[in-house]
Symmetry: C2
Amino acid sequence: MSKPRPTIADVAKAAGVSKGLVSFALNDRPGVSPETRTRILEASRELGWTPSLRGRSLSSDKSFALGLVIARNPEVVASDSFYTTFIAGTEKILAPQGRALVLSMVPNEILEADTYRKLFADGRVDGVILTDLRSNDNRLPLLTALGVQAVTLGRPDVESPYPSVLLDDGPGIRDAVQHLVELGHTRIAHVGGPSGMLHGGSRRASFIAQMTAARLDPSLVVETDFSAADGARATSELLGLNDRPTAIVYSNDSMAIAGIGVARRAGLGVPDDLSVTGFDDIEIGRHLYPSLTTVATDALEWGSRAADVLLQLIAGVKVDDVSLPPARLVIRESTAAPSVRSRIPTNHTAAR
Amino acid sequence: MSKPRPTIADVAKAAGVSKGLVSFALNDRPGVSPETRTRILEASRELGWTPSLRGRSLSSDKSFALGLVIARNPEVVASDSFYTTFIAGTEKILAPQGRALVLSMVPNEILEADTYRKLFADGRVDGVILTDLRSNDNRLPLLTALGVQAVTLGRPDVESPYPSVLLDDGPGIRDAVQHLVELGHTRIAHVGGPSGMLHGGSRRASFIAQMTAARLDPSLVVETDFSAADGARATSELLGLNDRPTAIVYSNDSMAIAGIGVARRAGLGVPDDLSVTGFDDIEIGRHLYPSLTTVATDALEWGSRAADVLLQLIAGVKVDDVSLPPARLVIRESTAAPSVRSRIPTNHTAAR
DNA sequence: CTGAAAGCGCTTACAG
DNA sequence: CTGAAAGCGCTTACAG
């Protein structure tokens, strides 16, 4: 239907040179006289030539694309705005450089390994961004065995040949605990993510460290799968305790919001009877009543830097780890001083 | 580092035939004797041969990938679980067929057109899935001019050569209105999406139709950009009315949740003073207190069917539009009969 | 500085 | 049924 697009052969003929020279000129490589170069560039412009990624891919053994494999329950991913914002951030770097993002979502870790293998066997991507690092992450040996490039979000707990883009969760969690302590809370719980996930673990560690520093009992920790449903379950558990917490530090916003629901349903006021902090700063948290005190990270920037680092690595540039500003506490309305009533040990029976 | 992977040339040599024959055998094309075929297949298996997507792409002029371009504010996308779930649905079809998804997120419509052009100029994708159809959508003429394959979510309001995967929003919205009418509401408002977006328009039309059928005033309609912030703004506006609504039908869940926040902040109880319905059935809605009455659609299935239809189209199969079960109302706690207090015309000043 | 050629790994007419 | 060859659109030594 549309006439066939011009190739470098057409450009070469128009400029009266060989294909090889055209390639050199078009790729800004040395060894082409200025006049010839401009003649070639002019010809290519006149013909409306644009490089064929496929031809280039085959001969240069590159795909000009980056991969992102998300191996989590879609429902959890969906209620976490992190990925979407992160992807938007990568796009800011990729698009101007003519790179694309290949996205895979898989429900479990078996399919995850297959997906990485397939991505590289097919030469779909030149490198991958590793998110949600796990303890002793099996992707590291897998990817090094495949001989591929990667960048990790956060530093792995095992030997890794890949650069990392670091964003420290710790300060945000510590500030959240400190904020609650200053408000007068002494029974503070933590609802965290899976212990197998590094950022879940680091948030938990920060919680425990800060509680210990404040000479408070740091043992009120419940592990979840990061879903709102599991956050609700954990909250019920905590509110059912004889000596229930007056504040809960959650590891993400959707669990915090679900937790508020559970508390309210059990007849507790937020923040009067229970203070709540989240993590992520999702948009809806700003519009709740009470609005959600939370910990914010710059997911957009994280995405941009990760893409940037990986692209440099692929280009053969030696890159160091890069550190982003740490997570920071955003105080809103879901935290307050504990009420007198809630200071007295109670025995609320949390609704389901 | 790893030894070079075998090519069909290696397989040909091992099987003692020509490369061409290998290609025929490997692609299940007729014209290869059974014995030769098995000999070739065996050789390829022994060598661990796997096709090179790049070689195949160049010679067959296919990319074996589908594209999805999302041209919306990342923040709105992030608070809407639709895309994530939809993508997970496409993946269920793509992965087993060795296809990949190339995802682009762009902030505005100018970049959007460039992105589609680039995707095809680079031969990144064999077709695209068109979501968020707009009135008189400029992507339709663009894509037909580019001569590419596509599938649309919903039916465009202009001539379109592409098949559609249909999921009717109407019944869900109509049932929501009907549900509120049956509860005794007479002042019901609608907070909708951008009028330029077809599904925003269709939800609005369904609202108006059902209100009219119930002989109620259908004029309480506010348009938004689908963000939680704008949903809050619209709610403030409605609650500031002299004759404020006792129920609001929102066009998505995040606006509904923000709307509940605004109502509560203005001293109104939900559902006692204001009933609220959402759209999408995001996970967090189930865990709020009160839990959110909403309209659910099967985004996962929508994704699968869209990918399936597009893949068939690309394979040269003639495909018809496919219809999915319509959106359905999910009644939870955010709707109830209007309280006596709220039936009396009041003059609440909504806090911002 | 420039040309002619081989090669990347496939597919696909064209002969036999 | 099978082989030998050309071609997809680039890149990259190798000569000159």
